[in-house]
């Protein structure tokens, strides 16, 4: 790690997204590219309780949080997840990131009903790492493509329009072909409006074993932030709540220096971009955010007029 004094710092511009790592690092799958090495046996981070989530939701109001994300591990392993999602929908829009292999109809019925009672969207983001078992299963495990596709069919039957996210394990120039094939596959499974999001690989956790980690030169230097719109970085507009405190972002929870405090107020301080993964965020923008909430980099504020007075 480089010296903190040489790091580029990013301020919290506003707490737009609040992440809850509700299942800790516990997952029913053991994907070979998982950036926090989640598995059935990884207890580094534990489950959040419903009370934990409720108290942070209350605290989040004064921060003007725009939307809430629920992740893990596999969030649906937490027995209180459905109640947490229903509660959060009373505060704002909610997104849950799942592998869609453990869904139950009764949960989806309750969640759809809760969504329809208020004005906010409940988004399901389903991780499937390619349009066929040959691409997906070597990474996510034997038979997981079929199981996840069954989960997508289940979500569609319950009226959801899941966003399928895939980590790119192919050359960038093949994106269009992969997206095209995936759209066809999803349509064959009843998903008539396929929504797809490609994520860059994060060279952390299990991925380091599968391929490689970040090289020492892959760091964001202070000079690289000159003229750069730092609101493109997730650390400028989000924080992640875990059972071990609040961390800077959902990617770095098990990395040194990423712990920011126990309350939201304590996390309102600049974060040094000391990690290789910060370079991925720098290159690709806030990859963790939904497409509906991303914004294009843009020059600063334009002048305000006094017209119409």
């Amino acid at each position: 790690m480089i010296e903190a004094s040489a790091a580029a710092f990013v301020e919290l511009h506003g707490l737009d997204e609040l992440w809850f790592q509700v299942a800790g690092t516990r997952c029913n799958l053991s994907c070979s590219h998982c950036f926090i090495s989640c598995s059935p046996h990884n207890d580094l981070f534990g489950f959040l309780s419903l009370d934990d989530v409720r108290s942070v939701l209350v605290e989040s109001i004064e921060w003007g949080v725009r939307e809430y994300y629920f992740t893990g591990g596999e969030p649906f392993l937490n027995p209180d997840l459905v109640e947490m999602l229903v509660t959060a929908l009373g505060y704002g829009p909610v997104t849950v990131l799942t592998n869609a292999t453990v869904l139950k109809d009764e949960w989806l019925l309750r969640l759809r009903a809760a969504e329809e009672q208020g004005p906010f969207s409940l988004e399901y983001r389903v991780s499937i790492d390619g349009p066929d078992p040959q691409t997906n299963d070597p990474i996510r495990g034997e038979g997981t493509f079929e199981r996840a596709i069954r989960g997508v069919e289940q979500l569609v039957r319950h009226g959801a329009l899941p966003i399928i996210t895939m980590a790119r394990t192919w050359p960038d120039q093949r994106d269009d072909e992969v997206l095209g094939r995936f759209r066809d596959v999803l349509r064959q499974h009843g998903c008539n409006r396929p929504r797809l999001k490609i994520l860059p690989r994060l060279k952390l956790g299990a991925e380091v074993e599968r391929t490689e980690g970040y090289a020492d030169w892959e760091r964001v230097s202070p000079g690289m932030l000159e003229g750069f719109d730092s609101t493109q970085l997730i650390c400028s507009h989000s924080r992640t709540v875990t059972d071990r405190g609040i961390f800077v972002c959902p990617i770095l929870v098990d990395q040194p220096g990423a712990w920011m405090g126990e309350s939201l107020a304590e996390t309102d301080r600049p974060f040094p971009l000391e990690h290789g993964a910060c370079m991925t965020c720098y290159q690709y923008g806030a990859i963790c955010t939904n497409p509906s909430s991303q914004f294009h980099g843009q020059a600063g504020e334009t002048d305000r007029g006094e017209g119409g007075r």
Binding site: D16, R66, R195, S292, F295, Q298, R304
Partner: protein
């Protein structure tokens, strides 16, 4: 007093003409446009004389900033390759067909307008008060977030556009946000009409918001779009009322209301 607010003209000069006439008929005293004069439709230069002649007070949208400064793209912020493909076609056509004088006019528009009417403080922006190209969708904008954004403007009421879908919300704190809708294309509702917003303000600052559908000669617009070689997908939206492009930025709730 009544004020009329238009958003997202997208070169649809026929809808703009109809909306100006409708607002005048309803005794709107001042007309405002919250930006994005270009995109999507035919003959960009036909929009500007209508705005100027009617004395419409205009805010600069991201499209206007791009065209005005001849930037490489529209800054709409689409993330999907198909959406970006159509955005490119639309942007290249609009940039090529906007005169230098009109580009300069777009370049000089203010990014926001603050004004006071009957004691009601208004903040007019394009996307959100903090960012021209930020999407404020109804289903992905919490009340707490609206309070934060509106608080920073010092206004009672904030009006924007940018998403293409009209909606309004009064938060528990008593602040109001209105997305005034767009005149450029239908609201993904299977109807060919487009929408603008009438704001009626009484003495003391009490107000009511009305979303107004506008019928216009959409068949003529569709014909002209075809003649100009604009994508068949755009024409289909004008004729059917359903969006066919720029869909991947929609949250699930807004997306489910449409056909595609």
């Amino acid at each position: 007093m009544k004020l009329a607010f238009f958003g997202g003209i997208y070169n649809n000069y026929l809808a703009l003409e109809a909306a100006i006439a409708d607002a005048r008929r309803r005794d709107a005293q001042d007309l405002f446009c919250l930006g994005d004069m270009g995109a999507f439709g035919p003959f960009p230069d036909r929009v500007f004389p209508l705005l100027l002649e009617a004395g419409v007070h205009c805010v600069q949208g991201n499209y206007d900033e791009s065209i005005g400064n001849e930037l490489p793209d529209c800054q709409c912020g689409y993330t999907d390759p198909r959406d970006n493909h159509f955005a490119r076609l639309s942007y290249d056509y609009t940039l090529e067909h906007t005169s230098p004088d009109n580009r300069r006019w777009l370049q000089r528009l203010p990014g926001a307008i603050d004004c006071d009417r009957e004691g009601l403080r208004l903040h007019l922006c394009h996307g959100s008060p903090r960012r021209t190209n930020e999407f404020l969708w109804e289903s992905t904008t919490s009340d707490a977030f609206l309070d934060r954004l509106i608080d920073e403007t010092g206004a009672d009421l904030v009006l924007g556009t940018h998403t293409g879908l009209h909606w309004q919300r009064r938060t528990g704190q008593g602040r109001t946000f209105v997305n005034v809708g767009v005149l450029g294309r239908p609201a993904n509702d299977g109807r060919t009409s487009v929408w603008y917003t009438l704001l009626q303000i009484q003495r003391g600052g009490r107000f009511s918001v009305e979303f107004v559908p506008v019928q216009y000669d959409h068949r003529r617009l569709a014909r002209e779009m075809q003649q100009e070689g604009l994508p068949a997908e755009f024409v289909e939206t004008i004729e059917s009322g359903w969006w066919t492009t720029c869909l991947e930025v929609l949250p699930s709730r807004e997306r489910r209301r449409g056909r595609h």
